[in-house]
Structure formats: C-alpha cells, structure tokens
Symmetry: C2
Subunit: 157 residues, 2 copies
C-alpha cells in the first residue's frame, strides 16, 4: 500500500466543506441532518440502505431520524449529485468525486454482492458513445447512464 491510511486517507472535513459550498452556490442548504447522512455514507466503504443509515445516525450522532426523513435527505443529496442510489442493491453510496466535481460524469459502480463494498469508476468517452449509439438504434433515450455491475470484491471472492 502506498500509505498507511488506505482509503481512509480521504479527508472528510474537506469533502463536507466542498459539499457545503456546492449547495450554497446552488441556493440549497446542507443542514445538520443532511450532513450527518452524507458523512455516514462518505465514511462507509460500503453502500448503505436507508434503514442502515438510520442505525448509523443513531449510533454515531445519537440522532433519531425517521425513515421518511432519511429518504427525503437521500433524495436531496442525490439531486445535488453528492450521493448515488444503487438501484440494483437498494442502497446508497456517496459520490467519490465530490472534490473535483466530476459528479456529472457518467460512472459505473462495482458493487460487491456479498458485502456491498462499492467503487465508482468514470466511464470512458468511447464507452459512453457506444452505449448512447445502442440506445439510439433501439429508439430509446438515455435518461441516466449510471451502470451498476454485480461483482464480488477481492475480500469476498
């Protein structure tokens, strides 16, 4: 490994600050609860369900957020491109490009079906073009080009 921190090298404070600025510049607010949900996702290497997040927020912040609110918060964070919904897993993961703002790029997600570990990887333009062409040939319009790949991580394989 290159350093002694591994993935936890990422400075959460920095990411949150960027997320706050991002929201501010868009006229929205990263409230305390939204920040907690986002932080929980950033700190997790694994995708979490809405109900997982309820547990994490209770355990880590002593904060009881009802399911309905968690879903609304996730919807907000997704609309701000800070979080991605992984439909194949019914779980949520923080965007890995909050700093750098590549969030609008087309990503593929490698999701371990055993432990939910997730990795977000940008799609190459050539791939995007090919996917777009396929969709067009079939008379469909691509709405959300997010790809989710059903995988096993090396720990689980």
């Amino acid at each position: 490994m290159d350093n002694c921190f591994g993935d936890s090298m990422k400075n959460i404070g920095d990411i949150i600050r960027v997320a706050e600025q991002h929201c501010e510049s868009r006229g929205t607010r990263l409230t305390k609860k939204r920040k907690h949900v986002l932080t929980a996702l950033i700190e997790s290497a694994k995708a979490l369900s809405a109900y997982d997040l309820i547990d994490v927020c209770r355990e880590k912040y002593g904060e009881d957020i009802p399911a309905m609110s968690v879903y609304r918060i996730l919807e907000f964070l997704e609309s701000e491109n800070l979080v991605h919904k992984l439909s194949t897993a019914s779980k949520y993961a923080s965007c890995e490009n909050i700093i750098g703002d590549k969030a609008r790029c087309y990503s593929q997600f490698l999701i371990c079906k055993s432990c939910s570990k997730v990795k977000e990887v940008g799609l190459k333009p050539t791939m995007i073009a090919e996917l777009q062409a396929t969709v067009k040939d079939a008379s469909f319009k691509l709405v959300n080009p997010q790809l989710e790949m059903n995988c096993l991580c090396d720990d689980c394989a």
Copy 2:
C-alpha cells in the same frame, strides 16, 4: 414497418417449445404454471413485476398463483436463462434469445422508466472486454455482467 405483425411476429408456441426442450435437456421441468408465467412475460413488451404476473395469470389463465410461488417460478426461469430480473426496475422480462440460445451472452437492457418497455441488446465483445478490465483494475470480480440502462422509449419521450 417491415411487416404487419411487428414484434408480435414472434411465434410464442415455438419459443415455448424450445424452452421446454431446453429444460428437458437439463433435467428440469417446465410445468404448467412455469409455462404460464413465461408465456405472460414473452407476450408482454414490458417488464412485469411479480405482482403484475399474479394479475396476468389470473386474468389470462384463471389461475391464482400465490406471490411466493411466482417468486419461486421466476427464480427457476432465471436459473434456466429464460427470464431476466431487471433489478433497477424490480421487474422481470423474458429473454429475447430463447430461440438461438444466445441467452448466455452478456446483454444490456434498455428500460423505459415510464412504461417499462424493455429491449435486450447483446453487448459487443469489445465492450465486455473493457468492462472486465475496469472491474479487474479495481480488484473486483464480475459476477453478472448484465447492464440496465435507465431510458425513455420513443413513445414516452
């Protein structure tokens, strides 16, 4: 349009017969209920939920299949590569390659998020190779290469 039948050109009897032979050759059985569920999916241009299928089977075959059984039947049909589960939509679609047995190929599914119309398109080998490479670089193993694309069909766009 090339002919007056459109997609309904596909001869369902032929497909079912191939599916039966396929099962027989694998030592499994395409029972009456399994056949009904499979037929319902083949006849539908749209992906259907398990509960949709309960309704279709009741309406078309006067047959009341409990939810648990429908899920088991879908699991069986998927294990035989006759049906695909579209996880992003929580719906199911018949394989479009039952005749020809390309079922083991890697497919991408274009799914209309408005009406659930679905099209199965084979992935080009170059695409598969690229996806595989990405997965490998990230230390994941690809389990199921199925791609699901969130689209709008031309009718709904």
